[in-house]
């Protein structure tokens, strides 16, 4: 016993075990409980009588849920691609020895400090067709100026994309900037010696070398997509109609206002499976890299 204790003096196992215990209890406990609830007819208060997979059947025959999932895919792809591209462009520009770099950097970064609720509200105000940008342009004499995406069911989802890009590109910029600063100077010398055009250098030499950095960005952004709730609530409340409904909002609505714990739990479980599916490529590459 004594020697066992001695051997533990330099041992991360205990820390890992305690930590994982906590994660298991709170996170996986919750997943299990949610999984259980999804098999019941629980409404407001948990009921523990299992009825099978009815809630899942209901979920996938629910038009709003299907629209929500589709919206999440559209939003997710545009948001991730947009944020990555915009953030990367800003990082490249910031990396080109510009004046007042830290000022620009601070400006690009501060939205991260703003909560998604406030982000949503302020963009809602900016994009309001009457009182916002469109109204301002029309008042200024440009009568035909139209920018009514917020209230146009076919376009409203793009306004969410704009606001979320605004919120997150700063983070991507900083991460990519850090990656760019880490690029070996000899690589730049080689690029100049070979006379490779700048855009090709970035696209074909620099960024492929930064794959892990970009992969972490994508994972971070993806978790925002899946959990995306606050922004939608503050900006469009899912409307016009159900044009900007999202799975997380669906789940929250059914947890509380719609008093349908069972269906909300089923939705949560499906969301979790979806995120696992999206994470798979990332972890596949992680596993391959490390072993």
């Amino acid at each position: 016993m004594k020697t066992w204790l001695h051997r533990q003096t330099f041992n991360p196992d205990i820390t890992v075990a305690v930590f994982f215990g906590v994660v298991a209890i709170f996170f996986y406990g919750s997943i299990l409980w949610t999984g259980y609830m999804s098999l019941t007819r629980s409404t407001l208060i948990p009921s523990y009588e299992v009825i099978g997979f009815d809630q899942y059947v209901k979920l996938f025959t629910n038009y709003r849920w299907l629209v929500s999932c589709l919206n999440m895919v559209i939003f997710g792809v545009l948001f991730i691609v947009g944020t990555l591209s915009f953030g990367t462009i800003l990082a490249i520009l910031a990396d080109r020895r510009i004046q007042a770099e830290s000022l620009f950097r601070t400006i690009f970064l501060y939205p991260l400090a703003v909560s998604l609720i406030v982000t949503g509200l302020s963009w809602r105000w900016v994009l309001d067709p009457v009182n916002g940008l469109q109204g301002l342009m029309r008042n200024a004499g440009w009568e035909s100026f139209t920018f009514d995406w917020l209230t146009n069911p076919d376009r409203a989802i793009y306004t969410l994309v704009i606001a979320s890009i605004w919120h997150s590109s700063g983070l991507v910029m900083v991460i990519v900037l850090a990656g760019l600063r880490g690029v070996d100077n000899d690589l730049w010398k080689a690029i100049r010696m070979e006379g490779i055009p700048l855009w090709r250098a970035y696209l074909q030499v620099i960024f492929p070398g930064m794959r892990p950095v970009i992969a972490s960005c994508v994972v971070l952004l993806m978790s925002e997509v899946i959990r995306g709730y606050d922004l939608v609530i503050a900006m469009t409340k899912g409307g016009p109609g159900i044009a900007t409904e999202m799975p997380a909002k669906f789940a929250v609505d059914f947890y509380f206002a719609r008093v349908n714990l069972g269906l909300a739990s089923a939705a949560s479980i499906v969301m979790l499976l979806l995120s696992l599916l999206m994470l798979l490529p990332y972890f596949y590459s992680e596993f391959r890299k490390r072993t």
Partner: protein
């Protein structure tokens, strides 16, 4: 070691030092009334309660979802609030059904409360023959508000039918103003649909359709007509409509930028807050139909079962304060609602409140609003359908009616 117990013991000890009574009558009230008019209404109750020696702990949360989340969490965590502001919907029925709510049958018998309430209201407050909710005030959903100066300017009479309403709206539109102000949020939209159904079908049809959900009612021609009217109303939506809050929308009527608005009588509070006078600056009528109808929404307090003696006493005291006719009258005055007790003096209320009180007292006029009548999920599904029909102009009335029937028959 129960830390919470420990700290509350400490604080109780602290209180004892300052007060004479050995047991404070305490209530912890979870509510969502945080705007200035709502705050005034809540303060009316609180003042009455405090004047009787109670101690009020305020737990406000304006976000309705969050408030409900907090309530269920607190019940689950064994620290229920003493009173919850809510409406008599499926959540209330479920809480009561699972034995989480205290009943007030004894107090009701003592105070003869059943006699001073309309049967419909009384039935909404009872679950399984027990009185589990106490009313703070009554609202109706099926109101229409209009700008009096605007109608006078265009020489329009108060409409008596939907046809008159639409032609009036057209005139207003032609004059460059907004005919019907609409806030494009699902709950506002579905309110218009329900108001149309109630107006066209009348209270009896409403009870068949929404409360009993009978298959015959679903085949009635009223339903497609109501959807047509609903679609017609949607054509008046101005570009800024989608996502606009109801009070921003009411403001359009207040400032004369728009003619009409379909909205419950909480809108009256908005007119009053802007210093407007009912009958002079703004007018009101219930959605026009052959029979008068009144879709009631009741604000109630429900009282989760508590174990602490001082909390139980606090609940009793709060119940008495809420049911005090004077308090009811005051709430109606500041918040735009109608008193739930029929023995309250309504003569001091304005014309709109009086119209409401009068219709409520008309036998057979009052029905429960869909929000309370339909289980949470059904109401939600109809809301989803309504907002889909509202935005998607290619959806036919037949398709909408069919989906509507499917939803109502699904449970």
């Amino acid at each position: 070691m129960n830390l919470r117990r420990f700290t509350s013991t400490i604080s109780v000890l602290g209180l004892l030092a300052g007060s004479n009574t050995a047991l404070a009558q305490t209530v912890d009230v979870q509510h969502y009334w945080t705007s200035s008019s709502e705050s005034k209404a809540m303060n009316t109750v609180a003042d009455a309660f405090k004047s009787k020696g109670g101690k009020w702990i305020d737990s406000p949360s304006a976000d309705f979802d969050a408030a409900l989340a907090a309530v269920t969490s607190r019940i689950a965590g064994g620290e229920p609030p003493s009173a919850i502001l809510m409406t008599p919907n499926s959540a209330l029925r479920e809480l009561a059904g699972s034995g989480q709510l205290r009943d007030f049958d004894d107090l009701a018998a003592e105070g003869g409360w059943q006699k001073v309430m309309s049967p419909l209201v009384w039935s909404k407050l009872n679950v399984g023959d027990h009185l589990v909710a106490l009313p703070v005030g009554i609202h109706a959903q099926n109101w229409v508000w209009y700008s009096k100066p605007l109608l006078e300017e265009l020489k329009i009479e108060e409409p008596k039918t939907f046809e008159e309403l639409f032609s009036a709206a057209d005139k207003i539109k032609a004059s460059g103003r907004i005919g019907i102000a609409i806030g494009g949020e699902p709950w506002q939209e579905v309110g218009i649909l329900f108001s149309s159904i109630l107006a066209l079908g009348g209270p009896d049809y409403w009870n068949e359709l929404i409360v009993k959900r009978s298959p015959q009612a679903l085949k009635s021609p009223v339903l497609p007509q109501a959807f047509d009217i609903f679609r017609k109303v949607s054509t008046y939506a101005d570009p800024a409509s989608p996502g606009r809050s109801w009070n921003d929308t009411t403001n359009l009527v207040v400032t004369g930028k728009a003619g009409f608005q379909f909205m419950g009588d909480w809108a009256r509070g908005e007119f009053l807050a802007a210093g407007k006078v009912a009958g002079k600056d703004f007018g009101c009528f219930l959605t026009p139909g052959e029979k008068p109808s009144y879709a009631i929404l009741i604000d109630v307090f429900a009282f989760p079962v508590n174990k602490d003696e001082d909390r139980i006493k606090g609940q009793t005291l709060l119940a008495q304060s809420v049911m005090d006719p004077a308090v009811e009258e005051q709430i109606a005055e500041v918040k735009g609602s109608v008193p739930s007790r029929t023995d309250v003096d309504t003569s001091k209320l304005d014309v709109c409140a009086q119209l409401g009180a009068k219709t409520l007292a008309t036998p057979g006029a009052a029905v429960q609003a869909a929000y309370d009548a339909l289980a949470g999920d059904l109401n939600g599904q109809v809301t989803d359908l309504a907002t889909q029909f509202w935005t998607d102009k290619s959806m036919t009335t037949e398709a909408a009616v069919e989906s509507f029937s499917k939803i109502l028959q699904s449970e």
